[in-house]
């Protein structure tokens, strides 16, 4: 029996289904890792060992009874704290939702549970997914398993760290502007944001509804594929969901593919190691049979501005429901209804969430809508066209996921714009609704610390399978993803 943390989800499910290990063994190993690492890394906001054990006992009973087992049979999974799951506290790392237990379970969680996955806990994040370092969590930041002084990225920080630290083989995050790809890059693991709409959003607590997409983290590409496929497909509870249940992988290689490299993604400001590793990765892809072509995405420079108009507008609307009437915290204030709303929101939301609600409220208000929100929508269309045009001359686009590796906690908290710029390479893809993966492509030395670098592989609309194929080919040709972080759950044979 291999060590729990050495296996990816596919292998773990296979061993568990084959009776080489039990689901209860997996839960025990997972919680051993939680005990070993959670305190120092701050991965989870809440876990529920009893619930996980009960689920494992039931799965073991099914295995013993010879019943049909799911593709994720007995695999522990970590969920971001913005995912509604009955029994768990889905508080979005916000004081305003402290204690909130959703009365229903998200469609994508139900689908993974039906396949045998075992939710173990809710992971830390930037409050309401607003941030790139988890420093906006009301409950403290998550620390990077490669260097605890550094961020594990954001907003899906805890889920990335859980996988990078070997606590769970797979975890779910949500990617609105890069919130899965960037932490995947900073933690040296795989992350995949499918085409917008591929996975139902029902049960994902909304931040920017036209951008939000449930996205998996894993230590192998086949896990990304499996989890994405299991979650995909129409949902009667989400009318924006695409009807694409299948994820038909094309060839497992990049032979003959034209890979576009946008010059805008290699502009000044890229950390030297990141640039070097990504250029090496492109060379690797070429060696594997791809043709490299230069492309241009001329409106990329406006992406951050557009994103912070569109996403904040939607956020100001989505977060209007948190006023203390039906759920979460309530502060009575001056006794009037409006007073209660104001006092609850004043006390419940952190500064970054307030900043974005204010920004979003402003860009939608009478007299400013056209100049801000209306114009942002127009530029968003131009950004989408950039990609469409680029994809006329290539099959995939690659570039760095993040302009720099994991930065030190506290280094950007005083400068929101500097923080926003860490998403500069992921946000255009989100605005265009395209599928993109971040794959480990090596390491960079920053002041004697070895930090992972991620390569972003971007596909045209609905070409999720093509992105994953290229990721798989790159994974097979390199060893970066097999390296383990210093804070990794090595202990125990189980």
């Amino acid at each position: 029996m291999s060590a729990y943390s050495e296996l990816d989800a596919v292998a773990l499910a296979a061993e568990t289904s084959a009776g080489k290990r039990s689901a209860q063994d997996n839960v025990a190993a997972c919680f051993a890792a939680v005990g070993q690492l959670d305190r120092e890394l701050n991965v989870f906001l809440n876990t529920d060992r009893l619930r996980a054990e009960a689920a494992a006992i039931e799965l073991d009973r099914r295995a013993a009874a010879g019943e049909e087992l799911g593709a994720l049979h007995g695999v522990p999974i970590a969920l971001k704290a913005n995912m509604c799951t009955v029994g768990f506290e889905s508080n979005c790392a916000s004081r305003i939702l402290a204690g909130y237990k959703a009365p229903y379970t998200a469609t994508f969680v139900e689908r993974l549970v039906a396949a045998g996955a075992i939710p173990v806990g809710m992971t830390n994040m930037d409050e309401f997914a607003m941030g790139s370092s988890s420093e906006n969590s009301a409950f403290g930041p998550t620390r990077n398993p490669w260097d605890k002084a550094r961020t594990s990225g954001g907003s899906s920080a805890g889920s990335a760290a859980a996988v990078a630290a070997g606590i769970t083989p797979i975890a779910l995050g949500s990617d609105t502007g890069g919130s899965v790809r960037q932490p995947a890059a900073l933690c040296g693991i795989f992350g995949f944001k499918p085409t917008y709409g591929r996975i139902s959003r029902y049960g994902l607590i909304a931040f920017g509804s036209s951008l939000d997409q449930v996205s998996p983290f894993a230590r192998s590409v086949r896990d990304l594929e499996l989890v994405t496929r299991l979650m995909s497909g129409t949902d009667v509870n989400d009318s924006t969901c695409l009807d694409e249940p299948e994820l038909q992988l094309e060839h497992g290689d990049v032979q003959g593919l034209r890979i576009g490299v946008p010059k805008e993604y290699f502009a000044d400001g890229l950390e030297a190691g990141v640039r070097a590793r990504c250029e090496e990765a492109i060379a690797t892809l070429e060696r594997l049979g791809a043709t490299i072509v230069p492309v241009t995405l001329p409106h990329s420079q406006h992406a951050i501005a557009v994103y912070y108009v569109v996403a904040t507008a939607e956020a100001s609307s989505n977060l209007a429901r948190f006023e203390g009437v039906r759920f979460g915290a309530r502060v009575e204030g001056d006794g009037s209804l409006q007073g209660m709303f104001a006092a609850t929101r004043e006390a419940g939301f952190g500064p970054e969430v307030k900043r974005r609600i204010l920004l979003g409220t402003y860009v939608l208000s009478a007299g400013y809508y056209d100049a801000w929100y209306g114009r942002a929508l127009k530029v968003r269309t131009l950004l989408r066209r950039d990609f469409e045009t680029a994809f006329e001359s290539c099959d995939l686009i690659v570039g760095p996921t993040s302009p720099e590796p994991a930065f030190e906690l506290g280094s950007k908290t005083d400068d929101p714009v500097a923080m926003y710029l860490s998403d500069v390479l992921t946000v255009p893809v989100s605005l265009a609704g395209l599928p993109a993966a971040s794959v480990p492509c090596g390491f960079t030395d920053v002041g004697g610390v070895r930090l992972p670098v991620g390569l972003q592989i971007i596909g045209p609309h609905r070409a999720d399978a093509r992105v994953l194929c290229a990721a798989r080919a790159f994974e097979a040709a390199t060893t970066h993803a097999r390296e383990r972080a210093p804070a990794f759950a090595h202990g125990g044979a189980a």
Binding site: P103, A206, N237, F327, Q338, F341
Partner: protein, 499 residues
């Protein structure tokens, strides 16, 4: 319908100031909200019922739980389209839902899903009896809010049963010029929507709500400041509020003091005091921050869908009234009463199709069946709850016409049918309702009735035939209502003459 009489009496052009004698023009636009009669709510599967236990008809979607998403109810869309077609509107192939933001405790998401700049239909309207066409600007779909309850102690209670129930909001152009026109428009609108099966339009249950936009001006002037009046939950209040507000605005202008002139604001009708009062001014008006709801794809209504709805529309009341008068010879009043509710009109037409005479069917429906609604013995709260088929009424009318039973016995028979659910023929025999034609028996009853009635006999003999009526009743009573009335009358006459 009771307002019809008032409508005619009140119709006049403009408003004449009592103080100055000046004639002012009144400019009115109406916004009417109707609750659509769908099985489930607009964006979730909850099955709404009026009067249910508070918060018992809710789910993650309509309580605005984080992460829950709206899903459009196609049945609501179909009803909305039917209404639009019946009102002559142009249904748009593409429209969208927007979010309308404001904070209130009965609004679970902090926004209402509505339609802002791309409603699902525009145009259309209703022609009033005197020929004026009141134009509709648009109709849009939206979800209702819940209900805040303030009268249970010091805490406000919130009931979200009504949250996300489907509404259509129709907005007219400012074509209406009097309270009478407003009530006529509303009555007609209500009738059409009910005929489409789109809404019950029951103001008491809040399934029809109306806001009034009103201003006054002098002839030839441009429009003056417009005031919105809310909280009008009966046609009577709409008329009263328009009349009050007209007088208030005219008086304000005629004071000559600009400080007293009407301001753009929302006012509430106070039915207890019969006045409107300020609710909120323009300065404190909400900025609703509309934007397209990213959770709902654009609405596509294809031609086939529209034609399907159009082909299943019933004949509308105005056309039926016209037909009842011209082809069936009914009076305008009868035609109006019969068409006021679609179930009644459909019942009436079925009776006529089965061979009933239009005038008889009309009389019996109005005189007999209408009285059964609310009758303790019958147990029917509405017309369509009366347990009777058109065939039953026609059978009763045939029995009367053939002389098998008396008119009075027909009434008894009709009630017996409704109460037992059995057919006319078997009941006639069982209840012994056939007319007594036996002249000897009738003569015996008449002689008994004449005993000691010398005064009446003298009156009849002295040329007052109406005095006979006092004797007619007791004879019919003695016969159990079954004596042939004509024979009774003739026998009484003959006996008195012979005296």
């Amino acid at each position: 319908m009771s307002s019809t009489g008032d409508t005619l009496r009140l119709r006049e052009s403009g408003y004449v100031s009592k103080r100055t004698g000046t004639r002012w023009m009144v400019v009115i636009g109406l916004e009417v909200h109707c609750q659509l009669k769908t099985r489930t709510k607009l964006f979730c599967g909850c099955e709404y019922r009026f009067g249910a236990e508070p918060n018992s008809i809710t789910c993650p979607k309509c309580t605005g739980q984080p992460g829950a998403l709206p899903v459009l109810n196609r049945e609501a869309l179909a009803l909305a389209v039917r209404t639009a077609l019946a009102l002559g509107c142009e249904v748009k192939e593409k429209s969208k839902f927007d979010r309308k933001h404001y904070f209130y405790c009965d609004l679970p998401k902090g926004y209402q899903i509505s339609q802002y700049d791309q409603p699902y239909c525009t145009g259309g309207g209703i022609r009033l009896a005197h020929g004026k066409f009141v134009r509709l600007t648009r109709i849009h779909m939206e979800e209702d809010a819940g209900k805040a309850i303030h009268d249970r102690g010091d805490k406000t209670l919130v009931d979200l049963n009504r949250a996300s129930v489907p509404l259509i909001e129709s907005v007219t152009e400012a074509d209406i010029e009097s309270a009478a026109e407003a009530t006529e428009y509303l009555a007609s609108f209500k009738e059409i929507v009910q005929y489409c099966g789109a809404s019950d339009c029951d103001m008491e249950k809040g399934t029809l709500r109306c806001d009034v936009n009103i201003s006054v001006r002098l002839a030839g002037e441009p429009l003056r400041t417009k005031v919105e009046i809310k909280n009008l939950n009966s046609f009577r209040f709409v008329a009263a509020a328009i009349e009050y507000e007209t007088a208030r605005q005219v008086e304000a202008y005629e004071s000559g003091d600009p400080a007293q002139f009407p301001v753009q604001e929302t006012r509430l009708w106070d039915p207890n005091l019969g006045v409107t009062r300020t609710m909120r001014s323009k300065e404190s008006a909400h900025d609703y921050r509309y934007f397209a709801d990213p959770d709902l794809p654009p609405i596509r209504i294809d031609r086939a869908f529209i034609e399907r709805e159009r082909s299943s529309l019933p004949e509308l009341p105005a056309s039926r009234r016209e037909r009842y008068e011209s082809a069936m010879g009914l009076s305008a009043k009868d035609a109006r009463v019969l068409t006021a509710e679609r179930v009644v009109a459909d019942f009436f037409e079925a009776c006529v199709r089965l061979g009933g005479k239009a005038k008889d069917c009309s009389n019996w429906i109005q005189n007999e069946l209408f009285c059964m609604v609310g009758d303790a013995e019958i147990n029917a709260a509405t017309f369509d709850e009366i347990q009777i088929r058109p065939h039953d009424l026609v059978s009763v009318l045939e029995l009367i016409e053939k002389g098998v039973i008396q008119g009075n016995a027909g009434r008894t028979l009709l009630r017996a049918i409704v109460k037992t659910g059995r057919n006319a023929k078997s009941l006639v025999t069982e209840l012994g309702l056939e007319q007594v034609q036996d002249t000897l028996q009738i003569e015996t009853w008449c002689r008994e009735a004449l005993v000691g009635k010398d005064k009446i006999i003298a009156d009849v003999k002295s040329g007052k035939p109406n005095a006979l009526n006092a004797l007619f009743g007791p004879v019919m009573k003695a016969s159990g209502g079954k004596a042939n009335a004509q024979v009774v009358r003739e026998t009484l006459q003959r006996l008195i003459e012979e005296m």
